[in-house]
């Protein structure tokens, strides 16, 4: 990743102790090597407690929350793209919004 000119890194974590621990270590490594933007994607967030778990591990970082969503679980089980099987599902909409944010010119 270091020499391929990556300018945006998304660190995806679930609100579990293991996942935020691994994510935090990955984020630290990224910060050492990359000068672009980094966003933390908190996935499968069920409520404020979950968000708090992630915030505690990534103080001051840009965190995007993706809600826990049965529609994504269903799509995974069936092996279909969630964007196709459940385009209006909350988690799908949140990820689409994240993508649109990345595409938008910086203000």
């Amino acid at each position: 990743m270091e020499d391929k000119g990556v300018d945006t890194v998304l660190v995806v974590v679930e609100p579990t102790m293991k996942s935020v621990e691994v994510g935090a270590r990955a984020a630290a490594l990224v910060r050492e090597k990359m000068l672009g933007r980094m966003l933390i994607v908190a996935n499968r967030v069920r409520g404020e407690d979950d968000l708090a778990t992630v915030r505690a591990k990534f103080p001051g970082e840009d965190i995007v929350a993706i809600p826990d969503d049965a529609a994504i679980v269903e799509a995974e089980r069936r092996g279909v793209a969630p964007l196709d099987s459940a385009p209006n599902a909350p988690a799908v909409q949140a990820l689409v919004a994240l993508a649109e944010r990345l595409v938008a010119p910086a203000t």
Binding site: V6, L10, V41, G79, P82, L83, V103
Partner: protein, 105 residues
């Protein structure tokens, strides 16, 4: 723009990458999605299906076994060994899964 998605296995990297890739493509960007995971499953999340995903993984493995000539550049790799995913995303598998090594230390 070059976006890298990282995180613990099972956290949702692949699902996230697929939706981002296809959404960007829908917004008119020319998108290449590269699966660099040691367990390449991005094809499934993009909507390519099991068989096509495994075909691309197998093709990547065949590269190193000398059955195909290596591509000289990224563009060439994507042209020759990639596949068209939904929304016009161009997709290729980068990692090579090696077969179990007999007698490997």
């Amino acid at each position: 723009m070059r976006v890298a998605v990282v995180g613990k296995g099972g956290s949702g990297k692949t699902t996230t990458s697929a939706i981002i890739a296809r959404t960007m493509a829908r917004h008119g960007l020319s998108v290449v999605a590269l699966d660099c995971d040691t367990n390449p499953n991005l094809g499934i999340s993009l909507g390519l299906g099991d068989d096509e995903t495994e075909r691309l993984v197998a093709m990547r493995e065949a590269l190193d076994e000398g059955e195909q000539e290596h591509a000289p550049s990224w563009d060439d790799l994507i042209d020759r060994f990639g596949s068209d995913a939904p929304d016009g995303v161009r997709f290729a598998v980068v990692t090579r899964i090696q077969n179990p090594e007999p007698g490997c230390p």
